[in-house]
């Protein structure tokens, strides 16, 4: 039986965390290392007011003139567009279709921005200075944000009220019915407070929620926002550093659509310094599952009653990944489960979330891997995860079979990419090997591509190609298919940036 997709459930139910950007479309620190989109790879051509693109399926290169010098770019969640922040100052939206790249609306901005936070739907963006803000201006207002509507080409710039800090991260929640109107709430997380605003009502005054009393000197820093429903009301559960409680912000009362509604705040007991959380809609109602490293274990919190049940995991845990799967005791029923783990520890724990309140520790299944986990990534659409257990070892976790299959590598791992469908895993090793691994069969093909150590592996999923991009003055690329690598010959292009130079 083919596994049911899990990602959709995770996203629609709840999870919008500050760390949830898809690894596939993660932006590079060095813009010249290239951006992977659905059908293209792209590079900012600094000093040339241009964007270079490559359609790796057809090897068609193109060059798009930009109205200003590009500074930073951000790929949309679906990989169908690139938002380029430039020194105009402004932001340029570039649309990417299968065989077409075109300039979208340009947003003339007054502020300085270094971070872009896309709505899950990809049609709206929040810009903030963030940590990556390049100070092209002599002064910057870190509380200034820009709300862009990419479809309409409109934007609003405004300054959030500040109480001594700035947005450290921004979380864009799902579009949902909130307080009697359709809204898309955005959470700007600052030390000791959060500003809440509505992407669908960009000019509405934000609501500020303080997480401490005025005389409380603790640095309660909100870190994670997950969304669920409590008694029919949209509710955000906020986890913060230096706080034992989960802040539940619910919106039970109707409010005009052009205003940001005020929430009720309720602090839920999250155990001692919870490190991760998920909100899951179970048959008996929404439950918040918070990981408590000091226990170590899991707190199961009923947001209606405020009751907390602590269950010891007996293995170190720090993170939680919720997923749905057929129940082992009833294959026709879909159950709710979670994987718990801790970075630096070899143990993982599978939790049966549907039964844990009844069975407590008996609802937990521990599993010890061959090495300590350095990183763990779920495979979208599959009840599987990929754990990096050493520089030269990966472990594939199968949630259904509760198995952990180690895979030994011939050299240090440099890049790991996971297909958006979760079907394949792509690796680049220090010995020049590029590997394509079938997630279901765990069979792999590989080839060698000699590129520089600082090269970056890009996955262009809709093109079915891997692109090895070697940054530099001219950018060299090697293009590979995503399967049958052992039979493939890389297509190499040198001097990508030089394309058309003579024509100019």
């Amino acid at each position: 039986m083919r596994p049911a997709p899990i990602l959709a459930w995770v996203l629609t139910l709840a999870v919008t965390s500050a760390c949830d950007r898809s690894a596939t479309f993660e932006r590079p620190l060095d813009p010249s290392a290239g951006y992977a989109l659905a059908h293209h790879a792209a590079w900012l051509l600094r000093g040339q007011h241009a964007l270079a693109t490559l359609q790796p399926a057809t090897m068609v290169q193109s060059r798009l003139a930009l109205p200003a010098e590009p500074v930073q770019a951000f790929v949309s969640p679906a990989g169908d567009g690139l938002l380029i922040i430039d020194d105009g100052p402004g932001a340029q939206w570039v649309r990417f279709e299968a065989n077409r790249v075109e300039l979208g609306p340009r947003f003339a901005l007054t502020g300085t921005y270094g971070e872009a936070w896309f709505a899950p739907e990809g049609d709206r963006v929040v810009l903030s200075l963030g940590a990556g803000g390049a100070l092209s201006a002599p002064i910057a207002n870190p509380n200034q944000i820009a709300l862009l509507d990419l479809d309409r080409g409109t934007h609003v710039e405004r300054t959030l009220r500040s109480f001594g800090d700035r947005p450290r991260a921004i979380v864009v929640g799902p579009r949902a019915s909130v307080a009697g109107a359709e809204r898309q709430l955005v959470w700007a997380l600052a030390d000791r407070y959060m500003a809440v605003f509505d992407l669908l009502a960009p000019e509405a005054r934000e609501v500020v929620v303080h997480l401490t009393l005025a005389t409380d000197t603790r640095t309660v820093q909100p870190r994670q926002v997950v969304v669920g429903e409590v008694d029919g009301a949209y509710t955000a559960f906020v986890r913060a550093d230096a706080a034992d409680d989960i802040f539940a912000l619910s919106f039970p009362e109707a409010s005009p659509a052009d205003e940001v509604p005020k929430p009720y705040l309720n602090q839920l007991p999250g155990g001692q310094r919870p490190s991760d959380e998920v909100a899951v809609a179970l048959a008996e109602g929404t439950r918040v599952f918070a990981v408590e490293p000091s226990l170590p274990g899991l707190s199961i919190i009923d947001p209606v009653t405020g009751a907390r049940l602590a269950v010891s995991a007996e293995l170190p845990v720090q993170h939680i990944l919720a997923f749905e799967a057929p129940r082992p005791d009833d294959e026709a029923a879909i159950g709710h489960f979670a994987l718990l783990w801790r970075t630096g520890s070899a143990g993982v724990v599978f939790a049966d979330l549907d039964r844990i309140e009844e069975r407590r520790g008996r609802a937990l299944t521990p599993l010890v891997l061959g090495g300590a986990i350095a990183a763990l990534d779920p495979l979208p659409g599959r009840r599987m995860a990929l754990a990096r257990t050493s520089n030269q070892q990966l472990t594939v976790l199968d949630f259904d079979a509760r198995t952990a299959t180690p895979l030994d590598l011939s050299a240090d791992l440099l890049d790991v990419l996971i297909d958006p469908t979760g079907a394949r895993i792509y690796l680049r090793l220090a010995d020049a090997a590029v590997i394509s691994l079938d997630a279901d069969t765990l069979t792999a093909t590989s080839t060698e591509v000699l590129v520089g150590y600082e090269s970056r592996l890009l996955l262009v999923p809709e093109a079915g190609r891997l692109v090895l991009s070697e940054p530099g003055d001219t950018i060299d690329v090697a293009v590979l298919p995503v399967t049958d690598l052992d039979e493939a010959t890389p297509i190499v292009r040198h001097g990508l940036l030089l394309e058309g130079v003579l024509d100019r």
């Binding site: 009393l213 802040f247 705040l265 405020g306």
Partner: protein, 566 residues
């Protein structure tokens, strides 16, 4: 304050209030007793006029006993009727249980109101919907009381010296601010919720706090907003009211100051009636007042009797009883004071209206050698529950039929720290003492019981006693006014004990409901069939418990932070 006094503060439906005040006690009396609150009960004779002013005079003979004519006014100077204190007769001091809970929330009809001094607001939490409302009221609200049966609370703003009258309605909240003439830290409402009495409780003064109004009471007409400053005796201890709520009686260290709030029209000085024959021995007394405001009875340290005063007359008269009373209580008839004479093993039933003139009307009950230091009478005035809190005394209750004087002993498994009766008078809640040591390390069964905290439930009709040991000391006892139900709190942060126990007083069934953090205070919302428990939490925590024992406990935390959403 003793357990019994605390019961008076907590039990809903208790008509006569001593709200916001620490009841005075006779702590120096050598033998302690619970201070009595005013009680409902037989009205006795029609009320006299306790607020009447003293007569003018030309000569001493124009004045009552104990008064001298000075400058045309009768000034109390006392009599020599009061013997010197008899310390040798006092015997061992009985320990008292202090249950005073400041900063208590106020229970409205369906909502609980909690002061949030950090946010200058009052938070209201609806017991059914858990909806939270934050109402700005002024600087540093501390004391608040609900108008009976309404979702209206009166709030004392500690820093801005205002009274805020907050009304929570479906159409919105409203706040009315009334400036106070002095700085106060205590608030009392009359039973009908018509007048607020603001005063300064010296025992609760903070370091550096303005205590200049230590002899002032501001009486606020809540409907019209008029404020009348009233000078009273030194150091008010509590404010009580006559059964009809018409007259306020302020117990002070100078005696009882009498205020008729409806008659106030601007600043005035209250008539203060001495409660002891010796003008220098007015303080440190336990004072009880008849519900009609006609009489006061008191006991002082080492005094082998009680002092009675008819408030309208203002002449305290010492009534010797042959021993130092260790407890002074008022029977439900509203006229009879019950004095426990532990050292001679007797009770004295003292008619306040006749005992001074005719000591023969005092009825002495011989306790046949039993060691009894305290008593509490049931609501019908038929049975008195007698006990002692002296360490090492035989652990038992003695029931006294006040009509036939029959005595029944009920053995207990542990020593007694206090006794409270449920409103029906059918069940006694007996708080027990605890021996040193960890019960978990007790070498014997007897040590296990002795080292455990706990309480006993006593059926006063059948004499059945059930011991309930607890993992922490019980406190915050609340009786439901309309059903056989009580709630008691357990808290021991060191041992992570935090719970509320629901006590079925008919079946003696006790169920423990865990709480998220240390409980502080409990209350009832009968209109919505819930109890509430506020808990220790930096930003406030409250849990609601269904009175029927079924259903889930619902908790709201961080409600004070709701005042910081802007």
């Amino acid at each position: 304050m003793t357990l019994r006094a605390q019961l008076g503060l907590l039990a809903l439906g208790f008509a006569l209030a001593a709200c916001g005040a620490a009841a005075e006690d006779a702590g120096a009396a050598g033998a302690d007793e619970e201070p009595s609150n005013f009680r409902d009960g037989g009205a006795g004779e029609g009320p006299q006029e306790p607020g009447a002013r003293a007569e003018a005079c030309a000569f001493d003979d124009d004045c009552a006993d104990g008064y001298v004519c000075f400058g045309g006014q009768c000034i109390f100077q006392g009599t020599d009727a009061l013997p010197p204190p008899d310390g040798a007769d006092a015997g061992p001091r009985e320990e008292e249980v202090d249950f005073v809970q400041y900063g208590r929330p106020a229970a409205g009809r369906a909502q609980v109101f909690v002061a949030s001094p950090q946010t200058d607001s009052v938070v209201r939490i609806h017991a059914e919907t858990l909806a939270i409302g934050v109402i700005e009221v002024g600087d540093e609200p501390t004391e608040l009381y609900a108008v009976p049966g309404e979702d209206t609370v009166v709030v004392l703003n500690h820093t801005s010296d205002e009274l805020a009258i907050v009304t929570a309605e479906d159409t919105g909240d409203s706040v009315r601010l009334i400036a106070l003439p002095y700085h106060f830290n205590a608030l009392t409402l009359d039973p009908a919720g018509r007048f607020a009495f603001c005063w300064f409780d010296l025992s609760r003064a903070l370091p550096g706090e303005d205590g200049s109004a230590v002899q002032d009471v501001a009486v606020v007409d809540l409907a019209g907003g008029a404020v009348s400053p009233v000078a009273v005796g030194f150091r008010p201890r509590r404010v009580g009211f006559t059964a009809d709520g018409r007259i306020a009686l302020v117990v002070t260290e100078d005696g009882v100051s009498v205020i008729d709030p409806a008659a106030l029209d601007g600043p005035t000085a209250a008539r203060t009636v001495p409660v002891a024959p010796d003008v220098f021995r007015q303080a440190d007394r336990e004072v009880i007042l008849s519900p009609d405001g006609a009489f006061a009875a008191s006991r002082g340290p080492g005094e082998p009797g009680v002092t009675l005063v008819e408030l309208a007359e203002g002449v305290p008269r010492f009534v010797p009883l042959g021993a130092v009373p260790t407890d002074l209580d008022l029977l439900p008839d509203g006229r009879t004071a019950l004095a426990v004479l532990r050292s001679i093993g007797q009770l004295a039933l003292v008619p306040m209206d006749t005992a001074a003139a005719d000591p023969e009307t005092i009825r002495f009950v011989d306790l046949a050698g039993r060691q009894v230091g305290a008593a509490v009478a049931d609501a019908a005035g038929e049975v008195a529950v007698l006990y002692t809190t002296v360490a090492g005394a035989p652990p038992r209750l003695t029931l006294l039929d006040l009509t036939t004087e029959a005595l029944v002993d009920l053995p207990l498994r542990k020593g007694v720290r206090g006794v409270a009766l449920d409103p029906s008078g059918g069940v006694a809640f007996v708080l027990h003492d605890k021996a040193e040591g960890d019960p978990a390390a007790a070498p014997t069964e007897a040590d296990l019981i002795a080292r455990s905290d706990g309480y006993s439930l006593v059926d006063l009709r059948t004499g059945f006693v059930k011991l309930q040991t607890t993992p922490a000391e019980p406190f915050g006892l609340v009786f439901a006014p309309d059903r056989p139900l009580a709630m008691v709190l357990l808290a021991d942060p060191a041992r992570r004990v935090a719970s509320v126990q629901r006590i079925d007083l008919a079946a003696f069934d006790v169920r423990d409901r865990p709480l998220g953090s240390t409980p502080e205070a409990a209350g009832l919302l009968p209109a919505v069939e819930r109890a509430f428990v506020t808990q220790t939490h930096p930003e406030g925590r409250i849990s609601f418990i269904p009175l029927d024992g079924e259903g889930r406990v619902e908790t709201v935390s961080g409600y004070t932070l709701n005042g910081r959403i802007e």
